[in-house]
């Protein structure tokens, strides 16, 4: 017989988002609280991020990923939050029945509140539809990071990295330190995708070239990667015929973006936002289905773990707020220059954070809020990069008295190149 358990809160995924929301829910009086994690340890992605750069905003010091995670694990161990490790959630029904398995058996939780914090996964070669042969030696950057940092394996010796996202940049340095040669980081856009500080510390300081407006068009090699064809691209991102050159290498690392992991959310009939790939949420991080919350990378890809922790703590509080699922007054939509807006819905405009990501890099930028085609609020931002989220306090924005659709745009002077 499956183990049947009644719960007030079940948190799915034990990364930074799940840990913070389970803790906060417990501290706010929810009982019992379950935290389900399929891995052997709590911490999610943090466990493999052994570089410093975590916790500056929250703790005022630079921690490594595992150190950051440790603070929360330690706190959790002093509560009665029931942590189940090696436990994979396989099904969530719209009525909040959560089914999971672990080596003890099948578990069935009936819960009043379910918190989705499953994180995200990496985009793959298949999604890019990158043609060529199918040899060994093609890795997503996060997988390579795990193999190096946790398994002690060196994926390759002559490496080309596609995509200038942060994981790719960090891996360029990591592999170089382990004795591999990183031939180049290739980026299809005309500007850097990751953080400037990562470019400086991971590429520039190691003399690793960054080729902007280039892409990989074919993979070569029968058994192991032997080389890739790199082409220049035009303004529209299309490869320019005649610009191809073969770069010999034994490994291709892909750092081409992350996708929120929402197969379970879909099963539970939770409405998803086509822009973020995550659930549509309001300022309480409540989904558009009674009893469900979502936090962390499952909602949309966050840049800093500190923000993930912050919003997840908010979720822990919100599980006890009866009005969290009341109808929203404002519907926020990304306008020109904006790639992502979280949350998408707002009830009152009195609490919580608003996160924005720009589509491109801008100098002397302005964020503008408009309602019925008229701008009602404008905010100056000296520099904005797609890699860095803009975080605003929702209560600082003079929301219109009437409800409806609010369009948020970003304009400014386009930055091309690295900075």
């Amino acid at each position: 017989m499956p183990r049947r358990v009644k719960a007030q809160v079940v948190v799915i995924g034990g990364g930074p988002a799940g840990m913070a929301s389970a803790l906060a829910a417990f501290e706010n009086g929810a009982r019992p609280v379950f935290l389900l994690e399929r891995g052997e340890y709590l911490g999610g992605i943090l466990n493999q991020c052994i570089h410093p750069g975590f916790g500056l905003h929250l703790f005022g010091e630079e921690l490594t990923g595992p150190e950051y995670a440790e603070r929360f694990k330690e706190k959790l161990s002093r509560t009665q939050v029931e942590v189940l490790l090696n436990t994979t959630v396989l099904e969530i029904t719209p009525q909040r029945i959560v089914r999971a398995v672990n080596p003890q058996g099948v578990w069935e939780f009936e819960t009043t509140r379910a918190v989705l914090s499953m994180g995200c996964r990496e985009r793959t070669r298949g999604m890019l539809r990158l043609p060529g042969t199918r040899p060994a030696g093609i890795f997503t950057a996060g997988l390579a990071q795990y193999l190096v940092n946790i398994e002690g394996l060196l994926p390759g010796k002559e490496v080309l990295i596609l995509g200038s996202g942060d994981i790719g940049l960090i891996m360029a340095r990591r592999l170089t330190l382990e004795g591999a040669t990183v031939k180049a980081v290739v980026e299809v856009r005309d500007s850097l995708s990751g953080l400037l500080r990562n470019y400086v510390q991971c590429l520039h300081d190691f003399n690793i070239p960054l080729w902007l407006s280039h892409t990989v068009t074919t993979i070569q090699g029968k058994e192991r990667v032997e080389g890739v064809v790199v082409s220049r691209v035009d303004e529209g991102g299309r490869a320019i015929p005649g610009s191809e050159r073969v770069v010999p290498c034994d490994t291709l690392l892909l750092s081409v973006g992350l996708i929120p992991e929402n197969e379970l959310s879909r099963q539970a009939s939770i409405p998803l936002c086509p822009r973020t790939g995550g659930p549509v949420i309001n300022e309480y991080f409540a989904c558009e289905r009674e009893g469900f919350f979502a936090c962390g990378n499952v909602v949309g890809v966050f840049d800093l773990v500190d923000y993930v922790t912050l919003v997840s703590q908010g979720v822990g509080e919100a599980v006890n707020i009866p009005t969290a699922f009341s109808p929203a007054k404002y519907h926020l939509v990304p306008g020109d220059g904006v790639s992502l807006v979280i949350p998408q819905k707002i009830q009152e405009g009195k609490k919580g954070f608003l996160f924005l990501r720009s589509l491109q890099s801008f100098r002397q930028a302005a964020v503008s809020f408009s309602f019925q085609g008229k701008e009602f609020h404008k905010l100056r931002v000296p520099l904005c990069y797609p890699s860095e989220m803009i975080r605003l306090n929702i209560q600082d924005i003079p929301w219109p008295s009437q409800g409806g659709e609010i369009r948020i745009g970003i304009t400014g002077e386009r930055i091309r190149g690295i900075y």
């Binding site: 298949g126 890795f139 002690g152 394996l153 060196l154």
Partner: protein
């Protein structure tokens, strides 16, 4: 002197394995030699996986004859191998009056009272996303789909259970006639047999030519595919065929038994064996698929692949004894529908072997029992499995929900996986939407235990397909965390 086998099968694709399956019913000493590390590393793993029904057979050819015979053999095979073909049915889509004629031909060939030609309205109910420009369509309920790898593996496992020996990494280089046997030369020594069967797929013709046969050169036609994410599963439920153009059955949209959708293949002449996919080829497939289903979500692609057809000028199978080596049987031009026809081919090959005077005495065979699949098991079954063995509760691959128990079984069964590809094709780790970016983290440990030195030995497929190229000392890894 080496022992003399009754039969040596050269090549472990679906045809070689079907021959092994067939021969394992008789009291014969049979060995199969395969140059790769596993069965089904050639064309048999890279095709559409459709068991084409009677409606699609080619009359007045050996190909057609063996196709029909195979269809008769499938039901009992499914019981014997504990293997399930998925009867999804097919729709052949007509866009013009000319196409319509072809639908009538199919109906005549099918001789199936349940098959029918239906109009756009009915079609829309069956497959709402099909191109609205369709004027009619032939509905054939008999068409099935299989995982071609799992079918080949099931045939091979049955053969192993019933006494056929499989030897890998052994490439046949040539033949020599001795007084009492045919000697088969390989890169790893000589094997002797009373009869040898050349089932080497696209290499069959060149091997035949090496033995001095005058057989026209085959041409190689590549077919490329997209594989779409399982969450597109509900979009297309039947095999969708266009009306064929010259050369091939055209670009299909096909549901797979695992719940993915395949789009392809195109039909492109290539100068030499090359299973790469190309931008141009994939664009052609995109257009072909889009003609059948305009809203095909190709952005949901999880991978692309290609397979190669060895086609003879007359487009038929050619199965014949070598003139120079009367104990050597060649199977050339086994192109589509070679997967469907494989059982018929095997029986036919058996009959040819009997003609050489080898006695076929039937023996009692052990049935094959398939191993449970966690993903498709009910919650009650899952609970029972975990109670038997906790490894059933340890999910290693999240996309395809593959458990440690299934992986361990695949690594220790009667034809165990020895490469990552072998594991992937058996249990579908790394075959889902993340293509191994998660389970790829844990597989090295599972495959090699905790012993670091051996890790470089993990291979994707062939001898030089190392998964990782080196190791990093544990101590060094820990130091690095403070860098």
């Amino acid at each position: 002197m080496e022992p003399v086998f009754d039969v040596i099968i050269v090549g472990g694709g679906v045809v070689g394995c079907a021959v092994a399956w067939y021969l394992s019913h008789f009291d014969l000493r049979v060995v199969l030699l395969e140059k790769e590390r596993d069965v089904c590393c050639g064309v048999s793993k890279a095709n559409t996986g459709v068991i084409h029904s009677r409606s699609y057979f080619t009359p007045h050819t050996l190909k057609g004859e063996l196709h029909l015979r195979s269809l008769e053999l499938f039901p009992s095979l499914e019981r014997e191998l504990d293997f399930h073909c998925h009867k999804v049915g097919a729709l052949t889509i007509a866009f013009s009056l000319h196409d319509l004629q072809y639908l009538n031909t199919l109906k005549e060939r099918g001789k199936n009272p349940h098959a029918e030609i239906i109009g756009p309205q009915e079609l829309k109910e069956l497959e709402p996303l099909v191109n609205p420009e369709v004027i009619a369509c032939y509905y054939d309920p008999e068409t099935k789909v299989v995982s071609p790898f799992l079918l080949t593996l099931a045939l091979a496992e049955f053969a192993v259970l019933n006494g056929v020996e499989f030897i890998f990494f052994t490439e046949v280089l040539g033949f020599e006639e001795t007084r009492d046997a045919l000697s088969v030369q390989t890169n790893r020594g000589v094997y002797r047999a009373r009869v040898a069967i050349n089932c080497t797929g696209i290499h069959a013709t060149s091997l035949a030519q090496k033995t001095g046969e005058t057989i026209p050169l085959h041409r190689l036609y590549r077919g490329q595919y997209f594989v779409l994410d399982r969450d597109c599963q509900s979009l297309v439920k039947h095999v969708l065929y266009p009306v064929p153009t010259v050369g091939s059955k055209g670009i299909l949209v096909t549901p797979t038994p695992e719940g993915n959708i395949l789009v392809g293949p195109n039909f492109e002449l290539i100068p030499e064996e090359d299973t790469a996919t190309t931008k141009i080829g994939l664009e052609e497939v995109e257009r072909g698929g889009g003609r059948l289903v305009p809203s095909l979500p190709l952005h949901k692609t999880i991978t692309t692949f290609s397979g190669i057809r060895p086609t003879l000028p007359d487009r038929d199978f050619r199965i014949f004894f070598s003139l120079r080596f009367p104990r050597l049987l060649h199977l050339c031009g086994i192109e589509s529908p070679g997967l469907t026809a494989s059982l018929g081919i095997a029986e036919y090959v058996g009959e040819q072997i009997q003609k050489t005077g080898i006695l076929f005495r039937e023996k009692k065979v052990a049935p094959r029992v398939s191993f449970p699949v966690f993903r498709t098991a009910s919650w009650e079954e899952r609970e029972k499995l975990i109670a038997q063995d906790p490894d059933w509760g340890d999910i290693v691959c999240r996309c395809e929900e593959v458990t440690l128990a299934e992986i361990k079984h695949a690594l220790s069964s009667c034809l165990p996986a020895s490469t990552l590809d072998g594991l992937k094709r058996r249990v579908r780790v790394m075959a889902g939407r993340c293509q191994g970016s998660f389970c790829g983290m844990h597989l090295p440990d599972i495959l090699m235990g905790k012993s670091l030195q051996k890790r470089e030995a993990i291979m994707k497929s062939g001898e030089k397909s190392w998964y990782c190229l080196d190791t990093i000392g544990r101590a060094e890894t820990e130091n690095a965390s403070t860098r």
